[in-house]
């Protein structure tokens, strides 16, 4: 296992270099000049001042040197200052990240607690009324764009039924944005968990357990739930990418003060250092979570590593 972790970490190096390089190159694509952006509001500024600022920021150096300097900044947490607020980019990002993590955690927990029982109930009652209802619901959730789901929640829960405030600073504030993310994620999870439980229920060991007189509930909780759990880990790794993207839209709708809203605001203001930090860190977080999920998956299901050894 330790050897495997080490080899995976080595594989990460070119990926991380690629991510940072691409992010850096992306911003260079923009037509705007960083120094012009900084002095945008200051009216006319002499060429000398512009040139001095350019030298100070290292913008007069060749592309690869600039990339190297920037990369050093990513590693040491010095990613320059925002064009707009003048605050340190890394500080701003670190300040807003907890809100996004909170939102993601709540929606992942909601998803697991809603989708797992629904998926199992659906599978156990295959082709019965309950199954059809759950499948229809998960189909609807899967076809609903998150910005529409969010606006519908606002419309019904906040405006029509007055159950929740649209924006609130206490615990109620997280419910609607988290629920929005949960709708599409939960729909996918329910579907997959149903499929995996159906498959598991066909296996000989379930038949064996049944014939030994073990009741259905024990079979479900002791054996089938475990396969659902490994499925959830796989799904988490797969859906974290769309979840990270989804937070940008949902945070914007609900004025949730996280990195997603920060990025959308930064894009509208053309605040490139912030956008760079957002993209690069989201990608790093994404890659890391995928690695963690992979390791966790191998821990939970020893067959994965075993089969790989057979193939070698």
């Amino acid at each position: 296992m330790r050897k495997y972790i080490f080899s995976r970490l080595i594989q990460l190096v070119p990926i991380l270099l690629g991510i940072t390089f691409l992010t850096f190159a992306l911003i260079q694509l923009s037509a705007e000049d960083a120094v012009d952006m900084i002095y945008r509001q200051s009216g006319s500024v002499s060429e000398e001042i512009l040139a001095a600022k350019r030298a100070e920021l290292g913008l007069d150096q060749p592309f690869l040197i600039q990339y190297g300097n920037w990369l050093k900044g990513v590693v040491t947490g010095d990613m320059g200052r925002s064009f707009i607020s003048g605050k340190l980019v890394f500080e701003t990002f670190a300040e807003k990240l907890p809100a996004t993590i909170e939102l993601m955690t709540v929606s992942i927990l909601l998803t697991i607690f809603i989708a797992t029982p629904l998926g199992i109930i659906s599978a156990v009652n295959q082709n019965k009324f309950v199954d059809y209802v759950i499948r229809a619901l998960s189909f609807v959730g899967n076809s609903m764009p998150n910005f529409f789901a969010g606006l519908l929640l606002i419309y019904f829960l906040a405006l029509k039924l007055n159950l929740l405030p649209i924006i609130s600073n206490d615990w109620r504030g997280v419910i609607m944005p988290a629920l929005t993310l949960t709708i599409s994620m939960g729909a996918k999870y329910t579907r997959q968990i149903r499929a995996v439980v159906l498959e598991e229920l066909q296996k000989p060991y379930v038949l064996g357990a049944r014939s030994r007189g073990i009741d259905e509930f024990t079979i479900l909780t002791k054996s089938v739930l475990k396969s659902a759990l490994t499925m959830i880990i796989t799904l988490l790794a797969l859906s974290i990418g769309s979840l990270l993207g989804g937070t940008a839209i949902v945070e914007t709708i609900f004025m949730w003060d996280g990195v997603g809203k920060m990025a959308v605001d930064a894009i509208l203001m053309r605040d490139y250092p912030l956008i760079q930090a957002y993209v690069v860190w989201m990608a790093i977080i994404y890659v890391m979570i995928n690695l963690l999920a992979d390791l966790l998956y191998r821990q939970l299901d020893p067959r994965v590593a075993y089969e790989e050894n057979l193939n070698d």
Binding site: V140, P145, N146, A248
Partner: protein, 271 residues
């Protein structure tokens, strides 16, 4: 006569056909000019004349939703066709040639895949400066990798088939084998993936427009319409509900079609 195994697809093909018909003939189907402003009649709720009400400039929402089908479907299908063709060609080439080309292209796709799709698209669309074309380009930059991987894996298994050896011995050129023997055989699974992807692409494109990074006003595009009406959800909910439902119904129809297509082709493979 349509083969019986394709029969379950018919209702969904008809539904998708209706959508595409509406999209193609949108300019002739709108009851009003979708861009004609009438400030006196602004924000009137749904009534006998404006079946879905009017927006804040007094434009007929139904006409804009119909017109939006053209913008949205056109952009989504063109984008999908582009990434499917480019992606599968690259993948097929990688799988068929192997060696350095394969390594370089696949490692490149690894890097693109390391970005969360929407995060990257938001940044690219933002840097390119909005517009529907730029939004589609932003999604395409990552989108092709999926098709490259699928077709590469398929080609790797097809390459070992006896009929490829037979074609080689018969003196068929590499390009001939690729286009006549390899590509037709990967078409099925690639098509299913593409069909299942339509819904996601429509949602992502509309999502970018909703953030103000895609179609620009006054374009009648569903996501942009919802962005425009966002602040009026309390007073004029129809401005949001109409385009939102249009996205939902469109995505739902294509998701159903994709699901059925996969089922049908799976049955074919198993039998």
């Amino acid at each position: 006569m349509i083969k019986s195994r394709y029969r379950p697809l018919i209702p969904y093909l008809i539904l998708a056909g209706i959508l595409i018909f509406i999209a193609i003939f949108a300019p002739y189907l709108t009851p009003f000019d979708p861009y004609a402003q009438d400030l006196e009649g602004a924000l009137s709720p749904p009534n006998a004349q404006n079946l879905l009400g009017t927006d804040r400039y007094g434009r007929d929402v139904l006409s804009r939703v119909i017109m939006g089908s053209q913008v949205t479907l056109c952009a989504a299908l063109l984008l999908l066709a582009t990434i499917t063709i480019i992606g599968s060609l690259i993948g097929a080439l990688c799988g068929y040639i192997g060696g350095k080309v394969d390594t370089i292209l696949m490692r490149t796709s690894d890097i693109f895949l390391a970005f969360p799709q929407m995060v990257f698209a938001i940044a690219v669309a933002g840097v390119l400066g909005g517009g529907l074309f730029n939004a589609a380009a932003a999604l395409a930059i990552i989108g092709w990798t999926k098709y490259a991987r699928i077709s590469r894996a398929l080609v790797l298994s097809i390459r070992k088939m006896p009929y490829i050896d037979a074609a080689k011995m018969a003196g068929t050129s590499s390009a001939g084998i690729l286009f006549h023997h390899v590509l037709p055989n990967i078409a099925g699974p690639v098509l299913v993936t593409a069909a299942l992807d339509i819904g996601t692409i429509i949602m992502e494109l509309a999502g970018l427009s909703f953030l103000g990074l895609g179609a620009m006003p006054p374009t009648a595009e569903w996501g942009a319409m919802m962005n425009n009406g966002r602040s009026m959800i309390q007073t004029a909910s129809w401005v949001i509900l109409a385009p939102g439902s249009a996205i939902f119904v469109t995505v739902a129809i294509f998701n159903l079609l994709g699901d059925k297509l996969r089922d049908v082709l799976d049955v074919m493979r198993n039998s």
